[in-house]
C-alpha cells in the first residue's frame, strides 16, 4: 500500500480560559435549552389541544403536547450545542468555513466538533452507552422468562421492555459501524483530510444521542406495546410512550439519511489520486453500499412515522380504517424501509470481515470483485423483498411466490461475500488474534443465521415459524452474530489506532470465548423453542418449555456478563493500565496503519498517491513518495 510522508504535525492549541469553556455553546447549554424547549413544547401543545397548563403531570394523555415537547426539546438541544450558529451566519451572507470547535482538549468530545476523528470517538462511546441500555433490557426480558407465568414484571411492562430493547438496538446499530469506524477511518482510507460535510457529520451523532435519550424516556409515559416494528393499529391505540418511539425512529431516520449522504459524497468525490474503484478498500465499498440504502430507505421511514404521528395527534386517517385508511399501508411502508434496514446492519459487518481477514491470514483478499458485486447485489435486491414480512399478514396469495423467490435470490450475492471470506481463509496461515477470533465467529454465526433464513423466507414454512422464537433466533444470529461480533472485531482492531492504547489481550480473549459460547448457548435453543410454538413478545409460555427457557436465560446472563468483562477491559486498558500500542500491531498494509499516531491534524500533510490495492500481502511493499495535493479521483 502507498505510504505518506505525513509528519508529526503537533501544533500547540490556544487554550481558552475556563469560564469561556463553561459559558458558551456546549453540552451544558444544550441540556438547559433542551429542557427549556421540552417544557415550551409541552405548554404550546396543551394550548393547541385546549387543555390546561399541566406540565408537571406526565400521565396526562396529550400526544400533541408530548410530540411538540420532544421536537422543541431536540431543537433547543441542537441550538445549545451551536448547530444554529452556522446556518444563521450563512443566512446573513457570511463566508462558508469547514472547521468548528476543533481547538480544545477533552471538551471537544462533549459538543459540536467537526473533526471526523473526534466524531468517530463520540459515536463509539455514545452508541456504547445506548447498547448498554438495550442490553439491560434484554437481561430483564430473560429474567421474566425464567418463569412460565408473569412473575417479575407484568405483561404490559414485558412488552414495553421487548419494544425498548428491539427499538434501541435496531436504531443504534444502524450507525453501529458507520458511526464510529466509517467516520473515523473512511477519510483516512481514501486519502482525504476530512468528510465532505463536517457539520452534517457532527449533526448525525447528536441527533442520534437525542433520539436515544427520548426512547429511554418512554418509561415515564407508559412504554409502547408494538415491539420495534410499531405496527398499526396498535400504534394508534397506544399510550403516550408510543410518541417516544415515533420521535426516536424519525430522528434515527434523519440521522441515517444524512450520514449516508455524507459518506457517499465523501467517497465519490474525495478519493486521493490513484485510488481507483478497483483499489478502494473493501470496507469503504461496504460503507458505500450501506450509504445507498440509508439515503433511499430512511426517508421512507421518516415519512411513515410522520403519518403515524399525524394519525395520533390531528386524527388524520392514513392507517385507521374508520376514516378510510388502512393499517396494512403502515406495514408496507415500514417494511419498505425495514428490510433494507437489515442490510444496513449487515453490510458494514461484511466490510469489516473482508477488510480484516487478509490482515490476519497474510493473504490477498480472495475475489475482490466478487465481493464488491455481492455487496452491490445485496443493495439492489434488498428493495425487492419487503413483502416476505407480510406472508401471514394478508398479502395477496399471488404475490407470495415472487417475494419468496426474490428473498431467496438475495442469498446469492450474500453467498458471494461468504465465499470470498472462505476463499481468503483457505489454506491460510492465520494468526488468531482477538479481532480474527471475532471474524471466525462471524463465519459460524452468519452461516447459522443464513441457513435458518431460508425457512423464514419460504412462504409455507414461514407460516408456522412467523412470530415465533424461531424467527427471533434467526434474526439474532444474523444481526447480533453478524453485526455485533464484527463490531467487536472492529473495536479490537481499530481502537488501538484511535487511542494509541492496547487492550489487555487475556481479558479480551476471555471476553471473546465467553461471548461466543454464551451467544450460541442463548440463541441456538431458541430455534427449538420457536419450533415448539412459543411466540415472541409474550411473557407467558407452556410449562413444558420451562427448562429450555431457564437454560436460555442463564446463558443470556453469561452473555451479559461477557459484556461486563469487555467494559472492565476497556476501563482497565484505557484508563488505568494505558499501555501504548505498537504503531502497527497487526502489520497491516492498509493506509491507516502507515500514518503516525496520533493521526496528524488534517490526516496527511500532503495528499497521498495510491499505487496498489491494500491487500497485496505476500508482495513487497511499494513505497511511493507523496505528491503535492492534486485532483481527486
Amino acid at each position: 500500500m502507498t505510504t505518506t510522508t505525513a509528519g508529526a504535525y503537533t501544533p500547540q492549541p490556544a487554550r481558552r480560559p475556563m469560564w469561556r469553556r463553561v459559558v458558551g455553546f456546549n453540552l451544558l447549554l444544550a441540556v438547559v435549552l433542551g429542557v427549556g424547549g421540552y417544557y415550551l413544547g409541552w405548554f404550546i401543545g396543551h394550548q393547541i389541544s385546549g387543555k390546561s397548563f399541566e406540565f408537571q403531570s406526565a400521565t396526562d394523555e396529550n400526544d400533541v403536547a408530548l410530540l411538540l415537547a420532544y421536537l422543541f426539546g431536540v431543537v433547543g438541544f441542537l441550538i445549545g450545542l451551536g448547530f444554529a450558529n452556522y446556518p444563521v451566519s450563512r443566512m446573513l451572507g457570511r463566508p462558508a468555513s469547514l472547521r468548528e470547535k476543533e481547538e480544545e482538549g477533552i471538551g471537544r468530545y462533549f459538543g459540536l466538533c467537526t473533526d471526523h476523528k473526534v466524531v468517530g470517538i463520540q459515536y463509539l462511546i455514545g452508541i456504547g452507552v445506548f447498547f448498554f441500555v438495550g442490553g439491560v433490557n434484554a437481561m430483564l426480558i430473560r429474567t421474566e422468562l425464567l418463569h412460565s407465568t408473569p412473575q417479575f414484571v407484568g405483561p404490559n411492562q414485558y412488552i414495553s421492555l421487548v419494544g425498548m430493547h428491539g427499538t434501541m438496538m435496531m436504531g443504534m446499530m444502524t450507525s453501529g459501524i458507520l458511526g464510529p469506524f466509517a467516520n473515523y477511518f473512511v477519510p483516512i482510507l481514501i486519502g482525504a483530510r476530512r468528510m465532505a460535510f463536517p457539520r452534517i457529520e457532527a449533526l448525525t451523532f447528536w441527533l442520534l444521542m437525542a433520539a436515544g435519550f427520548i426512547l429511554t424516556s418512554t418509561i415515564f409515559f407508559g412504554g409502547f406495546p408494538t415491539g420495534w416494528t410499531g405496527y398499526e393499529p396498535l400504534n394508534d391505540q397506544a399510550v403516550m410512550g408510543m410518541d417516544s418511539y415515533i420521535i426516536f425512529f424519525a430522528l434515527v431516520g434523519i440521522s441515517m439519511c444524512l450520514l449516508g449522504l455524507n459518506m457517499m459524497a465523501t467517497i465519490l468525490t474525495m478519493r486521493a489520486p490513484g485510488l481507483t474503484w478497483s483499489r478502494l478498500p473493501i470496507f469503504v465499498w461496504s460503507v458505500l453500499a450501506t450509504s445507498v440504502l440509508m439515503v433511499l430507505a430512511a426517508p421512507m421511514l421518516v415519512a411513515t412515522l410522520t403519518m403515524a404521528a399525524l394519525d395520533r395527534t390531528i386524527n388524520t386517517s392514513f392507517f385507521l380504517p374508520g376514516g378510510g385508511g388502512s393499517s396494512y399501508l403502515f406495514e408496507n411502508l415500514f417494511w419498505f424501509f425495514g428490510h433494507p434496514e437489515v442490510y444496513i446492519l449487515a453490510l458494514p459487518g461484511f466490510g469489516i470481515i473482508l477488510e480484516l481477514l487478509p490482515v490476519f491470514t497474510r493473504k490477498p483478499l480472495w475475489g475482490y470483485r466478487l465481493a464488491v458485486s455481492g455487496m452491490l447485489g445485496v443493495t439492489l435486491l434488498s428493495f425487492f423483498v419487503w413483502q416476505h414480512h407480510l406472508f401471514v399478514s394478508g398479502i395477496n396469495a399471488d404475490l407470495r411466490p415472487f417475494y419468496m423467490l426474490s428473498t431467496e435470490i438475495i442469498s446469492i450475492p450474500t453467498g458471494f461475500i461468504f465465499l470470498c471470506a472462505m476463499g481468503t481463509l483457505w489454506k491460510a496461515r492465520s494468526s488468531f488474534s482477538v479481532p480474527m477470533l471475532f471474524c471466525l465467529a462471524w463465519v459460524f454465526n452468519f452461516l447459522i443465521g443464513g441457513l435458518s433464513g431460508v425457512f423464514v423466507s419460504d412462504a409455507p414454512s414461514d407460516t408456522s415459524t412467523h412470530g415465533s422464537f424461531f424467527t427471533m433466533a434467526h434474526f439474532h444470529y444474523t444481526i447480533m452474530g453478524g453485526l455485533i461480533f464484527t463490531f467487536f472485531a472492529a473495536i479490537y482492531y481499530w481502537v488501538p489506532k484511535m487511542t494509541g492504547l492496547r487492550f489487555n489481550e487475556r481479558l479480551a480473549k476471555i471476553h471473546f470465548w465467553l461471548m461466543f459460547i454464551a451467544f450460541n448457548s442463548t440463541f441456538m435453543p431458541l430455534f427449538v423453542i420457536g419450533m415448539k410454538g412459543q411466540p415472541r413478545r409474550v411473557s407467558e409460555y407452556a410449562s413444558n418449555l420451562h427448562a429450555l427457557n431457564v437454560w436460555v436465560s442463564v446463558s443470556a446472563f453469561v452473555l451479559g456478563f461477557s459484556m461486563l468483562i469487555f467494559i472492565a477491559n476497556t476501563v482497565y486498558s484505557m484508563i488505568f493500565a494505558r499501555i501504548a500500542s505498537e504503531q502497527n500491531p497487526w502489520r497491516s498494509k492498509s493506509i491507516e496503519w502507515q500514518i503516525p499516531h496520533p493521526v496528524p491534524v488534517n490526516n496527511f500533510e500532503q495528499i497521498p498517491v495510491f499505487e496498489s490495492d491494500p491487500y497485496d500481502y505476500g508482495v513487497p511493499l511499494r513505497v511511493a513518495g507523496a505528491q503535492p495535493a492534486s485532483a481527486g479521483t
Binding site: P11, R90, G93, V295, T316, G324, T499, E582
Partner: protein, 221 residues
C-alpha cells in the same frame, strides 16, 4: 516490527487544531463536486420521502375503505393550487436563469435569483392561504389526510430550499456591499458561491418537478 506509539492523555488522542487554522486547500473542484453529488443524493432521498405519500395516495384510493377515500364535497381550491405551482415553476426558471448567468460571468444573476426567492415565498404564502380557504380539514377521510400532510411537508421542503438559495444571494450581496470591493473581489466571491448556487438551483428545479407531480395527483387526478 514497528515501533511503539506514544501514550497520550485522553484529551490529546486526536491532536487539537491551532485556533484559526484552516484545513489546507484542496483542489478547488473537490468542494464543488461534493456539493453537486450531495444535491443529487438529496434529490434521491426526497423522491423516496414523497414516494411514501404517492404510495399512500394510490393505495388508499384503490381500496377505498368503507367508501371513505374521498367524500363528495372535498375539493381543493384549483385556482390557488394552480397559482402556487405556477409560482414555483417560475421561481425555478428564474433561478436556473440566474445560475446560467453566474456561469457566464454576468453580474446580473443576482436579480433573477432574488426574484426566484421571492416567488418561492409567495408560493408558500399561497399554500397557507389555501389551507384557510379549503372546505375540508385533515380529519375528513383518507384523501384529506394525504392532501394536507403531503402539501404541508412539501411546503417545509420548499422553505428549506428557499433558505438555501437565500444563503447564496446573501453571500453575494455581502460581497458587493463590502466597502473595498473591487470587481476582482466580487469575481472571487462568485467563484466560492457558484458551486453552492449550482447545487441549490438543481435541487430547487427538482423540487419544482415534485411540485408538478403533487399538483397533478392531488388536484387533477
Amino acid at each position: 516490527m514497528a515501533s511503539r506509539g506514544e501514550e497520550l492523555p485522553l484529551g490529546r488522542m486526536v491532536p487539537p487544531v491551532p485556533a484559526g487554522a484552516e484545513i489546507p486547500p484542496e483542489p478547488p473542484d473537490v468542494g464543488a463536486r461534493a456539493l453537486t453529488v450531495a444535491s443529487r443524493l438529496l434529490a434521491g432521498a426526497t423522491t423516496f420521502f414523497f414516494l411514501a405519500f404517492i404510495f399512500a395516495y394510490f393505495y388508499l384510493r384503490s381500496i377505498n375503505e368503507e367508501h371513505l377515500w374521498r367524500k363528495g364535497h372535498l375539493d381543493p381550491n384549483q385556482a390557488l393550487g394552480a397559482a402556487m405551482i405556477a409560482c414555483i415553476i417560475l421561481s425555478a426558471a428564474l433561478t436556473i436563469f440566474a445560475g446560467r448567468g453566474m456561469k457566464a460571468g454576468s453580474r446580473a444573476w443576482l436579480t433573477p435569483a432574488i426574484g426566484g426567492v421571492v416567488l418561492g415565498l409567495v408560493a408558500v404564502a399561497l399554500q397557507c392561504i389555501e389551507y384557510t380557504k379549503q372546505n375540508f380539514g385533515p380529519t375528513d377521510g383518507a384523501y384529506a389526510s394525504v392532501f394536507c400532510a403531503w402539501t404541508a411537508l412539501y411546503l417545509i421542503a420548499v422553505l428549506g430550499t428557499i433558505y438555501w438559495l437565500e444563503t447564496q444571494v446573501a453571500s453575494e450581496v455581502r460581497a458587493r456591499r463590502k466597502p473595498a470591493s473591487t470587481e476582482g473581489d466580487i469575481r472571487q466571491a462568485d467563484l466560492l458561491i457558484a458551486p453552492g448556487l449550482d447545487a441549490a438551483v438543481f435541487y430547487w428545479s427538482f423540487l419544482a418537478a415534485i411540485g408538478v407531480v403533487t399538483y397533478v395527483v392531488l388536484y387533477l387526478v
